[in-house]
Subunit: 132 residues, 4 copies
Amino acid sequence: MNDYLFKLDFKVRDYECDLQGIVNNSVYQNYLEHTRHEYLKSIGVDFAALAAENVNLIAVRVELDYKHPLRSGDAFWVGLTMEKVSRIRFAFVQEIYRYPDNLLILNGRTIATAMNEKGRPMLPKQLTGFFV
Amino acid sequence: MNDYLFKLDFKVRDYECDLQGIVNNSVYQNYLEHTRHEYLKSIGVDFAALAAENVNLIAVRVELDYKHPLRSGDAFWVGLTMEKVSRIRFAFVQEIYRYPDNLLILNGRTIATAMNEKGRPMLPKQLTGFFV
Amino acid sequence: MNDYLFKLDFKVRDYECDLQGIVNNSVYQNYLEHTRHEYLKSIGVDFAALAAENVNLIAVRVELDYKHPLRSGDAFWVGLTMEKVSRIRFAFVQEIYRYPDNLLILNGRTIATAMNEKGRPMLPKQLTGFFV
Amino acid sequence: MNDYLFKLDFKVRDYECDLQGIVNNSVYQNYLEHTRHEYLKSIGVDFAALAAENVNLIAVRVELDYKHPLRSGDAFWVGLTMEKVSRIRFAFVQEIYRYPDNLLILNGRTIATAMNEKGRPMLPKQLTGFFV
């Protein structure tokens, strides 16, 4: 639970919960995405600015293991690490833990790449640096 | 209930319902927005294409009267009319009715305008035509 | 800008932004709702717990004035005050301000009531106390 | 593309698109969930009614392969089949195809189970029938 490149704190918002009284399955992807974008910004990669220049970071595959649900009032944190998958693909490996007991809520793995407006792979230099 | 410029059918999706087992308050704005955009497209105004050209339709004020909640499984329809508010502002007047009993669910009024990338008012010609 | 009962800090998440590159209109209601629920919890009223007991806080009318849009990367805060509307209705008056310049982003007014599972008005005692 | 148990038609709504001008990654889970619930309802399993009785269908693992993005204005359909995974686990296998060219947009696999309020596995009889 200790070797994350980046951690971000969250709190469940009631509108994120569904009929079952728990956070809806799709919302965990929102938490993971926001954590990825905050991490990227922390290393100088601005998702929105890149999109405005038609360089897009794109998820190719997502794997989510739901361990326990989050509920109204829960505070939690997301930890992030990265793995190189191929020359132009990388994976964000993310876990969600509940406060204060650090119960594991979810394991996520998002395989991503980046491409320019012509659909050509084009990794931001801050990320290529990561893979040297 | 009869003099709408445009009508659109919907069905509640379970992820739109919240802890209370009813459609979350914010989701009605999604229904209203989608109906507005489909109406605009039907008269030749493409919201996404305009946004790509930096001409943006912008909501200035929204008023929503919640009459009855929608629940899982409900089918419903949105009716839309338009009103001129000023030289550069117009209002979408929208009601939501449940199927099959036509129970009034919500009254909505969205005052909108359009502006170009310099922030200058710039009404798409299809809409100026509307106000002649 | 000073006399709020409650304030809450937020940061725009990229998934909340739409085609126009700004926070989608409906998302502001999410911000306002989360602030209301956090405020209520701070005075001992738990929205989710009440819902589980079939006592529901219900929005009757929402008015939103959109002054300026929020964008990717913006930090902002929501201020909340309350007004008595009638014996069983109250209003949450909320404003959203951008950090660090305190630009006014949105004025919101949500008229609400509470009712039990039989549809009878039933104000939580913490809120009736508020109106003495 | 032909042997689905169930198919459902959709149209992209603009609020589902993000800064990149494409449907946000998390929204595909909404499409898949709505299709699953409509399918279940078609065989007599009501997700919301079960939740109200504290019998919950729960996703244990989700795998999503993003092949091509959906954009504003796109119409598409979701096809669904089911697989038995274990005595108490089953998988919804789903694909999303764009209209009218049937371009494959996404492959999804959702492994699910059902449990009662005590956390005991409890498959609705309509689903056990499926696995005979």
